[in-house]
Amino acid sequence: MSDQDYNQGTTDDNSANTATESTPSTSSGSQSSSPGKKESGVLYLGIDLGTSRTSVTASNGVRETVASFVGYPKDVVAKKLLKADVLFGSDAIEKRLSLNLYRPLGEGVLKTSLEGGSEDGDYEGNVRAAKDLIAEIIRRAQPRKDELVYAVIGCPAEASFKNREAILDAARASVDSVMLCSEPFSVAYGLEMLDDVLVIDIGAGTTDLCRMHGTMPEEADQVTMTWAGDSIDAELTRLLQERYPEAQFSIHMVKSIKEKFGAVGELLDAAVVELPVNGKPTPFDITNEIREACQIIIGPIVEGLGKLVGSFDPEFQQKLKDRVLLAGGGSQIKGLDKAIEAEMHRILGSGHVIRVEEPMYGGANGALKIAHDMPAEYWEQLK
């Protein structure tokens, strides 16, 4: 499957360049010759750096997603066997038994030794994994060697200062200029919703709520909670263990089941899954368990929305409630928009929820748009 689009004009431009400029040298060293002129040969990237998934949308038309897992062979034997120094995404998950596996953005932020996020508190390891992950997603965007790379990275709204520094550090190793912005902001910006909108971004580790009103969101405009995809998986696991103690399953299986059948409210299809019982695949109807598990995030989300609405200028509260944007992988739970809307009516008196069209690429698309709209001189200054 050849899915690369070659831009004829672009390449021609380029061979013309090589004939006139004798030394293209390193890309990062080149300067825009005349200050008023717009820079050419720049690849813009929008990156959504997530707990479970990192995506890129690039100004060359490439889009890529990789699960946010990085694995290093445990020993020389494993390294020889795997024929690689580092594995990413589903490759890393698949070979996890022979790897030291990192999920560098667990809980939505780089784990620090202080936060004690990773099992072994390996902060250095997580930083290295983040660096490798960012390098990998940029590689997958297929930059030309002779183009500058400018990236906007959307990171979780509540990433701490230390975390942002670490992310910035990690990115600077592979791009010519980089800016961070808050993930919910980039989602909204991508959809041209610049003011008076509430964004709900349901990820794996965290759900980020963000109030937008024209300028950059501040601390007070954001609420982050750990009620998110992973907590639904945990709840579904608990329910299944409680009600079908004989069934055997792993957390990965539960996650797949949720992604396939995840729904709240009135269900159209019964969710019947086959789970092994003493090794024999046995069908279980887990419709109710799925509904119950998926529901657990609704209450906390609406409560968080209430906080953001309640602390806003009363004159504009209504407007805010009328434009709630539902994004992130978790927004794909069927019926979730309507269910949140119903809960908003119950708790806050009104509400209107819009689901983003592309939950997997919304953040990256928005970040790319920011990268594009950013004046060239800003990029220059951050080089």
């Binding site: 899915d3 431009d13 590689r139 797949s256």
Partner: protein
């Protein structure tokens, strides 16, 4: 232009189900294999339908199942089939993917190297050409100066000799003398120019040679570029894809929310500048 309009690619969904959930070791039935050989004659929607139908029928014949269970089974088979096909599609052209990629990488490296060499040679050539051209014009000026200096002496000698010849005869043929002198001088200058031309031609040939070589190299550069593109397309490899934004970067003044966006951009920039400063401080 909207970003979404430019991004027409289908996400490749790398984040899906781990590979170890691909069912393994299903029985390889001869009839299945025979049928599989004919499968490439069938459209994918036909195939999907046929699989779904036959699974449904097979299950209905063998078991007593509810409609929901039947549907679930059909769905399960469908997704497993997809996973299996996806897993198998990792092997390209009968070669394991890793080996294939290595082969492709070698090709790419070779072409890259050829391109590098051609480029380097071209650069050297251009340098030489420039030098040659400079030297030529210097040499030409020098030759002209030389010939003018030596010419002046020669001219005087010749004129003197002619004058002596005519002085020995009578003074009444002054007009003829003038004419002959002019004529002789003219022919002398002509000869000198010829000799300069001859010397210059040698240099010009050299330059022409350079120019032809450069044209050739440029051509071969374009060829390797072409070859690279073709190969990359055929083998679907990472050669880098050029940016679409060449000269359109920056917020358009015609944007409806120009002012708001401009303000947003500068506050993002300010925050990042502070972040970067804080780090270096």
């Amino acid at each position: 232009m909207k970003v979404s309009e430019q991004m027409s690619k289908i996400p490749r969904g790398d984040d899906g189900v781990p590979e170890d959930e691909v069912p393994k070791g299903a029985p390889e039935d001869d009839t299945v294999q025979q049928h599989a050989r004919k499968l490439n004659l069938v459209g994918s929607s036909q195939l999907t339908k046929a699989v779904a139908e036959s699974v449904r029928e097979g299950l209905r014949d063998q078991f007593e199942l509810t409609q929901a269970q039947l549907n679930a089974a059909v769905r399960a088979v469908g997704s497993r089939l997809m996973l299996r096909l996806k897993a198998q599609s990792k092997a390209v052209r009968g070669v394991p993917k890793a080996a294939f990629l290595k082969e492709v990488q070698a090709d790419k490296d070779r072409i890259d190297a050829a391109r590098e060499t051609a480029k380097r040679e071209l650069d050297a050539m251009l340098e030489k050409l420039k030098l040659g051209q400079e030297q030529n014009s210097l040499r030409e000026a020098e030759l002209v100066r030389e010939s003018q200096a030596t010419g002046q002496v020669e001219d005087e000698q010749l004129a003197g000799r002619i004058a002596a010849i005519f002085a020995s005869s009578d003074g009444d043929s002054a007009k003829i003398r003038e004419k002959i002198t002019e004529l002789a001088l003219g022919s002398m200058q002509g000869q000198r120019e010829k000799s300069i031309d001859a010397q210059m031609a040698e240099h010009r040939d050299q330059v022409d040679g350079f120019e032809r070589r450069i044209a050739k190299l440029t051509n071969s550069l374009e060829l390797t570029e072409e070859e690279l593109k073709k190969m990359a397309k055929a083998k679907n490899i990472d050669l880098g894809v050029g940016s679409i934004y060449r000269s359109v970067q920056g917020l358009s003044g015609e944007d409806n929310d120009y002012e708001t966006k401009k303000e947003l951009m500068s506050s993002i920039f300010a925050a990042n500048l502070a972040l970067q400063k804080g780090k270096t401080a």
